[in-house]
């Protein structure tokens, strides 16, 4: 009997006992082929999925290494069926390859003729292919490079893309490491991406993904297209790039709802790219406007479906995806894998936190008991109104006020879903409210004021979920959310995770109505936090006053 730290479950999850002396060694060994699913305090759960195994293959690991790691660290015998499955799944990657042929252009080649025949028989694959060149290779229409990769992944035979990239238009860019330096993991991430060609870098919120993007541009030294979620985020990318690289403001263009600049480095929003008039995407020409050498996708997990389709046509360009999580609530992880690329770098949140790169957070769920009248009203509400009702109950406003009062003197963000609730909170707390209709100028003014500590409390709607940089927010109070979205929880937590100037911890409050659907959804989100390794507590609203804020 081994005394390893790992227990292999029959459902292909791996349980890693973190307090074990060989846990670190084991984590390193299994990280390439298993996705960290949950990281609570004692036992971490990794999952071995086909995508994870193919990611490992793409990173140059073979089945033997995987099997060795499993057997070597496992405490109990590893079921044979699982080992066979691992080997079988891994062997599927790379049987098919996309390569460049001197005379035929893009070709699909295979080391296993049977596999090639199998995929050639697929009705969906046939239209993407040209003539058969030899027994083991067939021409592919260059424009279908992305589509065929997507299809082959669906068929279970992911292709290895060795067709290379165009260099794009050269443009000199260097990192300007003056007064700051790339953190080791940022450098590793950028290097890993560059050596892999294309792919996704997974870093927690607040870990400096923008800087990884900047480092990637510096590697490419070519014109770059950056796709971000919204206008605020676009501004921040621009500022960050000016600050961190040799690029000047003139070299960076913004392609948003208001401005349509195309410069050597252009930042566009998803929204603009997906705007349609009369069923036609109006801004597709941006992709062809320049000979881009690099495309950066910010927040890959939010990438909308049309962008995937457009990305399918960009397979000859280098692509880097940046994200905090590969979990997509629409389950399109496979498209990320086939169109943007395999995962190239991944660092667990908790580790970054222990290294001091992101602030430790303390999560507290505050349970509010509804008054009797509220309970009656809740019981009578229509089922589709219930969630709104319980998440905007007036009791929450009272608790929020109490909390803000407790943390007077600290920078507090109040985040919510429903505008009228936020307006009411803004009134009660005497704080400005940022919502969808707030103009960009006004938003930036308020953000700046918050940064400068002129404003201490800011009420924001879900528009602030993404990519705003609020370095000094140490308290976040979530009053309502989009049902049980895990992704949103990660983003909101990210608001307070950025390192604080004073090195102090952050606190994340969720206010939840007891015995309602709000509580059920909260349980879902809280589970996500606990799985990410954040210890959370549940307190009753009545206890908020007595609690010692110093804790």
């Amino acid at each position: 009997m081994n005394d390893g730290p790992l227990i292999v479950q029959s459902d292909k999850t791996l349980l890693l006992e973190v307090d074990h002396e060989r846990a670190d060694e084991c984590r390193k060994a299994i990280a390439p082929f298993a996705e960290l699913e949950r990281a609570p305090e004692h036992v971490h759960t990794y999952r071995v999925t086909p995508l994870a195994l193919w990611n490992a293959r793409a990173a140059g690991h073979d089945a033997e290494q995987v099997v060795d790691a499993l057997i070597g660290f496992s405490r109990y015998p590893v079921p044979h069926a699982l080992l066979v499955d691992v080997a079988e799944t891994m062997s599927r990657y790379g049987r098919l390859r996309l390569e460049k042929h001197p005379s035929h252009g893009l070709v699909l080649t295979s080391t296993d003729r049977a596999v090639l025949e199998e995929v050639l028989r697929s009705k969906k694959v046939q239209p993407l292919l040209g003539e058969r060149i030899g027994p083991d290779s067939v021409a592919v229409h260059p424009s279908e490079r992305g589509n065929i990769k997507q299809l082959l992944l669906k068929l279970g035979w992911p292709a290895e893309d060795l067709a290379g990239y165009v260099d794009g238009e050269h443009h000199p860019v260097d990192l300007d490491e003056d007064g700051w330096a790339l953190r080791p993991y940022q450098k590793e991430a950028a290097d890993a991406f560059w050596h892999g060609g294309s792919g996704v870098v997974v870093l927690p919120c607040g870990a400096g993904k923008t800087i990884v993007g900047a480092a990637a541009i510096a590697h490419a030294k070519a014109t770059t297209l950056i796709l971000v979620t919204n206008t605020v985020s676009a501004h921040q990318w621009k500022q960050e790039l000016i600050k961190r690289t040799s690029l000047t403001a003139d070299e960076i263009g913004e392609y948003t709802g208001t401005k349509k600049e195309i410069r050597p480095v252009t930042i566009a929003t998803y929204q603009v790219m997906t705007t349609r008039r009369q069923g036609v995407y109006r801004h597709l020409e941006l992709f062809d406007a320049r000979d881009w050498g690099l495309v950066i996708y910010d927040e890959v997990h939010l990438l909308p479906a049309p962008i995937f389709r457009m990305t399918a046509d960009l397979q000859a360009r280098r692509r880097i995806g940046l994200t905090a999580t590969l979990i997509r609530e629409d389950g399109r992880e496979g498209d990320v894998f086939s169109l943007i690329g395999p995962k190239r770098y991944d660092a667990p949140w908790k580790e970054m936190e222990s290294q001091g790169w992101i602030a430790p957070a303390d999560c507290v769920e505050v349970r509010v008991t509804l008054t009797d009248e509220e309970r009656l009203a809740y019981a009578m509400a229509d089922s589709d109104e219930r969630y709104r009702f319980c998440s905007t109950t007036p009791s929450k406003t009272r608790v929020t006020e109490a909390l803000v009062g407790r943390h007077a003197g600290e920078q507090v963000l109040v985040i919510g879903q429903y505008i009228d609730q936020l307006d009411e909170l803004g009134e009660h707390l005497d704080a400005p409210v940022i919502k969808g209709e707030t103009r960009v100028k006004e938003r930036e003014r308020l953000f700046q004021a918050f940064r400068d500590k002129e404003i201490q409390v800011l009420v924001v709607s879900k528009v602030a979920n993404f990519s705003i940089d609020l370095p000094e927010a140490s308290i976040a109070i979530q009053v309502s959310g989009t049902f049980g979205s895990r992704q949103e929880e990660a983003q909101r937590l990210g608001r307070v995770l950025r390192p604080k100037a004073d090195g102090g911890g952050a606190r994340f409050y969720s206010i939840v109505s007891r015995d309602t659907v709000d509580q059920d959804f909260a349980a879902h989100r809280q589970r996500f936090l606990a799985e990410q390794g954040y210890a959370y507590r549940i307190v009753d609203a009545d206890d908020v006053g007595e609690e010692n804020p110093a804790r």
Binding site: M1, I7, V8, Q9, S10, D11, T13, L15, E17, R38, P40, E41, H42, V43, T45, I71, S74, R75, Y76, P77, V78, P79, H80, A81, L83, E365, R514, D515, Q526, R527, A530, E531, A535, Y536, R537, I538
Partner: protein
């Protein structure tokens, strides 16, 4: 009936007879009365067929060679015959040893008899082996249906010397002479020679339209006609020709078999670390045990229905496969194993359902290693073929899991054999499927066939799934299981996770048991939390629902916390503590009970009165509110009793029925698990007793034996074995017999026949009384006698 064989048997020592009946258990079911009975039973086609089926390729070849010889053969002669076939594969010494073993084995099993200087096949063997070694029929048989005139012409054409005897005898004699056959072969064209060579080692017969055509050596048109005209080929039917055995043997240049190896083919394959293979197999074994347990647990709550034709619906199998996270074939295997082990069976009161049996409850509390041994031996012994699930039968109906049609009589035997081949591999060898099949084919050549190969392939795949083999290598515990000496569980146990008595509690409301839990804790935690992931460890998740379940079963929140604190190696996380108290806070706020009737009265004082009345004690009234009483008695009784007490109640209608919750899990009685006999045959004491009984019976039998004689003009009645032997003898000699026969109307008739062949319970013979070839049912033949 060969008396020599009977005498030889009688001369065997008791020990040798015991060996005989142990090797051929069918000879003593039931025990024959005497040695003669034993001899005749040993000579029946079915008994010989079974014994031959057990022979390996070399031993079978020895027996075939033996049957081809006209009379008794010495062992030396036999060796020189065989050495031609084994020239390429084995040296003289190896052949000698192998031959010694083979002859000994044939004698032990009563398939050959006589001393080394006069070996003979046992009676019935030659017929059972016909045609031996892929040779054609004897010339006498090939030309049996040719008219004397035809043969006369043929003999003339080939210039046969004049000699006495019928034309057929003359031709037979000629073909038996190698020099003559050689001469005839020299006459034919090279094409004809090539065709003959084809027939010599291939199937010795072929189809030919108009086979009975008239051909003359001088006017032969084609190579085949050349051969037909010379008697080197003979027409055996309207459209078939065959190569006479004598010609075949000549063409084979004295060899009976083309190439023969006295040793079984080597098993080939990759070599792996045995310890690793053991661990891998153990991991799989543990998974199997857990999977079966999960299956039974699920089915006990939500059992699938039994199809009208028996079996499990395809849809239910798919659902089960999904539930167990297994491919369908593996799910089918698990279901079948659970069924074979008697853990599930069809039952239920209204519609038949597949439910766990009471035996499951016994199995569940055993240790994992014992559980596995039970499952694995049930699998090894079952005569059902889970591998066929999902395929279609001969009539194109789907084969369902648990369906009676999944039975295949040879399944258990093939499985046992395949496992013993695996068990004979050297440590660490993972034999390739092809080499296992080749070995099986060598060991049981008469049982070879695509069908059996499939069964063997299923066995290999399933052995891996069950955890008998790991990485293709037979595991230590697997060998133990095949040996059947009870060591399997002991070998497996140290490889399995040991039970633990603690869990790790985490803030995401999970509990991880880093190994199988001790049964008390396991049961408790299964109540208070839901299983999320299984394997070496178990992950449980606490939720409102599961905590409520624990509270429902009578635990209090303090109980729960106390148990958690006692069994957790880590402090109980605050959210879990909060969850438990929060659920407990709301638990039981609303109370629900059953009552069959109620009493309502606006005046509480009247109800006070009712309760105070002693007669109301029998009504089991309970006061729910000042103006409401609930009662367990029926409304009618309540009405009657209250009237008897002097009140004037009226009945009130009530909408809705009271729901009675269903029992959580159900069980059924399964049929007793059939124990298939192991490959070793009858127990030694049974064999010994059988031999003793036969010896005793034999003595008595010989003392009172008198020749039995029938009445004049009537065919004497004879026993069926005697009849069969006499018929076999007549077929061999081509002689005529007189039989008594019950015709289809039941009239006793007697016929004079020239028997041609006997198969499938029927005798085909030329009936002289009616001048036609007929088929006769063997069981209607009442007696037999020589025509003289």
């Amino acid at each position: 009936m060969s008396t020599e064989f009977t005498e030889w048997l009688r001369g065997r020592t008791d020990e040798q007879l015991r060996a005989l009946v142990t090797a051929r258990p069918e000879l003593i079911t039931p025990v024959p009365a005497h040695i003669e009975g034993l001899a005749s039973r040993a000579g029946t086609p079915s008994a010989i067929g079974r014994a031959l089926d057990r022979l390996d390729r070399f031993t079978l070849a020895v027996l075939e060679t033996l049957t081809l010889q006209p009379g008794p053969v010495t062992r030396t002669a036999l060796r020189s015959l065989l050495s031609k076939a084994t020239a390429g594969t084995a040296g003289r010494k190896q052949l000698d040893e192998a031959l010694g073993t083979a002859v000994e084995r044939l004698r032990d099993t009563g398939l050959a008899f006589g001393r080394d200087n006069a070996l003979r096949p046992a009676p019935g063997v030659a017929e059972a082996l016909d045609p031996p070694a892929g040779l054609g029929p004897l010339a006498a048989d090939v030309f049996r249906h040719h008219s004397p005139e035809e043969l006369e012409t043929l003999l003339g054409d080939i210039g046969a010397p004049e000699s006495p005897g019928s034309p057929r005898e003359r031709l037979t004699e000629l073909l038996g002479d190698p020099a003559a056959v050689g001469r005839l072969l020299d006459e034919v064209s090279p094409q004809a020679r090539a065709a003959l060579d084809e027939l010599a080692w291939g199937p010795p017969s072929g189809r030919l339209p108009n086979a009975r055509r008239e051909v003359r050596a001088a006017t032969a048109q084609s190579p085949i006609e050349e051969l037909l005209a010379r008697g080197l080929l003979g027409a055996t039917g309207e459209e078939s020709v065959a190569l006479p055995r004598e010609v075949g043997l000549f063409l084979r240049e004295g060899r009976v078999h083309r190439d023969l190896s006295p040793a079984p083919p080597e098993l080939e394959g990759a070599t792996r670390d045995q310890a690793l293979a053991d661990r891998t197999a153990a991991g799989q074994a543990f998974t199997l045990v857990r999977t079966v347990e999960e299956l039974c647990e699920r089915w006990s709550v939500d059992p699938p229905g039994v199809l009208r034709t028996g079996g499990l619906a395809i849809r239910d199998l798919k659902r089960t496969a999904q539930l167990l996270d297994l491919p369908e074939w593996a799910a089918g295997l698990v279901v079948e194993i659970a069924f074979a082990a008697g853990l599930i069976a069809a039952g239920g009161s209204v519609d038949e359902e597949w439910l766990p049996t009471a035996a499951y409850d016994g199995w569940r509390v055993k240790s994992a290693d014992d559980q596995w041994v039970l499952l694995a031996s049930a699998w090894a012994g079952m005569d059902r073929v889970p591998g066929l699930i999902g395929e279609r039968d001969d009539r194109d109906r789907p084969l369902n899991a648990l369906h009676p049609d999944l039975r295949r009589p040879p399944a258990a035997q093939v499985r046992t054999q395949t496992l013993s081949v695996l068990a004979s591999t050297p440590l660490g060898l993972a034999p390739s499927a092809a080499s296992v099949l080749a070995r099986l084919a060598w060991e049981r050549p008469r049982r070879r066939g695509a069908y059996r190969d499939r069964l063997a392939e299923f066995t290999l795949r399933e052995a891996e799934q069950i955890g008998l083999t790991g990485l293709g290598v037979m595991s230590d515990h697997g060998r133990g299981l095949v040996r059947g000496d009870g060591t399997a569980a002991g070998l497996l146990a140290p490889l399995l996770p040991e039970p633990v008595d603690h869990v790790l509690l985490q803030a995401d409301l999970t509990a991880v048991a880093p190994g199988p839990l001790t049964s008390d804790l396991g049961r408790w935690i299964a109540l208070a939390a839901d299983v999320e992931s299984k394997g070496g460890a178990t992950v449980y998740r606490f939720g409102e629902h599961s905590i409520r379940r624990a509270l429902d079963s009578g635990h209090s929140a303090d109980d729960l916390l106390a148990i958690l604190e006692r069994h957790s190696t880590t402090p109980v996380p605050q959210p879990l503590r909060y969850l438990i108290t929060d659920v407990a806070r709301r638990h039981g706020r609303i109370r629900v009970g059953t009552a069959s009737a109620y009493v309502r009265c606006d005046d509480p004082s009247v109800l006070d009165e009712v309760i105070a009345d002693k007669r109301s004690a029998l009504l089991r009234l309970r006061r729910l509110a000042p103006t409401v009483l609930a009662s367990k008695t029926s409304r009618a009784t309540l009405l009657d009793s209250l009237r008897a007490m002097g009140y004037a109640p009226v009945a009130e209608s009530l909408e809705g029925d009271l729901l009675v919750s269903r029992a959580e899990s159900r069980r059924t009685e399964g049929p007793p698990v059939a124990r298939t006999p192991g490959p070793s045959g009858p127990e030694p004491d049974v064999a010994a007793a059988a031999v003793r009984a036969m010896r005793a019976g034999d003595e008595a039998h010989r003392k009172r034996r008198r020749p039995s004689r029938g009445q004049d003009g009537q065919v004497p009645r004879s026993s069926s074995t005697t009849t069969i032997h006499a018929l076999q003898e007549a077929i061999r000699q081509g002689s005529r017999v007189w039989i008594g026969y019950l015709d289809a109307q039941g009239h006793a008739t007697s016929r004079i026949l020239e028997p041609a062949r006997m198969e499938g319970g029927y005798l085909t013979a030329y009936d002289e009384t009616r001048a036609a070839v007929h088929r006769f049912a063997l069981h209607r033949i009442t007696g037999i006698a020589d025509v003289s």
